[in-house]
Symmetry: C2
């Protein structure tokens, strides 16, 4: 009988999640019930929302209980199937949780196409929820037009780096905010952003003003907080703000105040709209077809930051909040 290693939620984090908020457990691998598929986790996706899911309150998904296996999106290989349509060896994506094996109801799994001209990690870095988020959050909510100025926060992150590049494809002037000089260089020199701001070193309101001489038409917001406030002071008439994340507040016990200048929404007739990529699952094909096309044409680049070993997941999660990851953060749990 095979052993399943799992990370459970042991405590509600106060501030950043610590390793002691998780519990490492060994359990036997469960046999799949009728209608279920047993999958072996290959890659686990680490995302800012992992931290949100550790809270006691419901988010857009129900809260987890203490003692539950930590929730997480993953890609894996079918080991055993008791659901028609899935066979051993299939590559599948779903919410397996932080564990080596999971028995998942068939309808909760997506089969991934084989033979695409992209590596498996592209399903996290370029396609999957990252691609849906960047593609629809920018195009469906903000309708970028050539010549408009687009600002992106966490611009070297998985979503932000795609958003900026799609903005360039659409003819925008793209200004990205990120947290290191290396990341600034990457988004400018490799990805083609027009300007990059190191928000840890620069005065953000001043730098934004300098790099957005014609104001800001679109803001793809991954962070909320002070950067949102600085952006609001520079918005143009009929600007659009896509609210994708508010990572600046995810680790705080006491919620941080919002921007004090929301009246700019009135003065400039701004639309600010939140979304979640799963709202667009039924249009995934449309996004992925176009993204793969851009990727193969050399117009889109991505990078992944692969950490080896499920046992390192709690430590690796912190990289998302201290800015030390470069590209989509992934745990490799087993061999492809």
């Amino acid at each position: 009988m095979k052993t399943n290693h799992q990370w459970l939620i042991a405590a509600r984090p106060s501030g950043a999640a610590k390793e002691s908020d998780f519990k490492w457990q060994e359990a036997p691998v469960a046999a799949p019930a009728d209608g279920q598929v047993l999958v072996r986790t290959v890659y686990l996706s680490l995302d800012p929302s992992n931290r949100v899911w550790m809270n006691e309150a419901d988010s857009y998904l129900p809260a987890l209980a203490l003692g539950d296996v930590m929730r997480g999106g993953a890609i894996g290989i079918v080991e055993e199937s008791r659901q028609a349509g899935f066979a051993p060896g299939d590559l599948v994506q779903g919410v397996f949780g932080w564990q080596q094996y999971a028995a998942i109801p068939g309808p909760a799994l997506s089969k991934l196409p084989k033979g695409l001209p992209v590596p498996t990690t592209a399903f996290f870095g370029l396609l999957g929820h990252i691609g849906l988020t960047a593609y629809f959050g920018l195009l469906d909510l903000c309708h970028p037009k050539p010549g408009e100025t687009l600002v992106v926060s966490t611009a070297a992150g998985a979503v932000g780096s795609l958003v900026g590049q799609i903005g360039k494809i659409k003819g925008c002037r793209v200004v990205g905010l990120t947290g290191s000089d290396e990341k600034c260089r990457w988004i400018k020199d490799d990805l083609g952003f027009d300007a990059a701001i190191n928000y840890k070193k620069e005065n953000v309101p001043e730098s934004l003003r300098r790099h957005c001489p014609d104001g800001i038409d679109i803001y793809f917001d991954n962070v909320g907080g002070e950067i949102l406030e600085a952006v609001l002071n520079l918005v143009n008439l009929k600007a659009r703000i896509s609210v994708c994340g508010m990572i600046s507040g995810y680790n705080s016990d006491n919620s941080e105040p919002g921007p004090s200048n929301l009246a700019m929404l009135i003065i400039k007739r701004v639309r600010m709209e939140g979304f979640i990529c799963t709202d667009y699952l039924d249009r995934a094909q449309e996004a992925f077809t176009e993204i793969i096309g851009w990727f193969l044409a050399g117009k889109l680049k991505y990078r992944v930051d692969v950490v080896q070993g499920l046992e390192n997941a709690p430590r690796a999660l912190r990289k998302l909040f201290d800015g030390s990851n470069t590209g989509k953060l992934i745990i490799q749990v087993s061999a492809e």
Copy 2:
């Protein structure tokens, strides 16, 4: 030669505008230049935006200089015209400022229809910018559907009371927030709101939760601040927030923090959009025709709070911020 009394801006207010922030001045009535129309002010509209216009910073209109005549919307009668299309006796609307007479370029004036089955004050209380604001801010931005829950702040105010009644016409459950028991009675018993909350006496989060058992689908926001925060905690999936005003912050020197729970925009996929009624000037006819129809059918009521005498304008302005006005606040400057 006739005398023109005027209120000038003497100082930038700190907090609420005081009478000493204005200067009362006598000047001769200017003869209209070519292309101008000399109007006698009959009714002056007092609105929260008057306070915004006293600030040093530009808003959606350029800032005024110290020593300028205070800006204000008004209705008046043409005394002398040097612009084709206007004749003495015509009833006109425009931004005359806080003065008894104004020489205004013809294109900046709107001629009001005579013989409508509504009193002249209806051009402020029901039609004009109030009607445009309520009608398009609710219908165009929020698309209310029967059975949805609509929350309105400053619900006994000129805009709020119209918004709530239009919400009822559209089949919504309407919950209003206002600042006195008398106003609560008025919006419930006379205007037909489903529930009224006295935000000065009640615990707003608790009362909202009680009166919105199915959550909030639409919020027509006139105030921002803590009420916006309480509403955000109760929004339903795909809720719409029409941002019409942020009066809670207009008098503060230090801008107040925004709501700490803007992440609800993501969790519930909420759209929050600012607007200004003048964006809809080209569709005014559509709104006014429908509003007059509803008024004549007894489905819409309004009330005006008419203060006599231009000399009382600075004192009267405070009523908008301490909640002591009931209905659209108007200064009667001269006889109809």
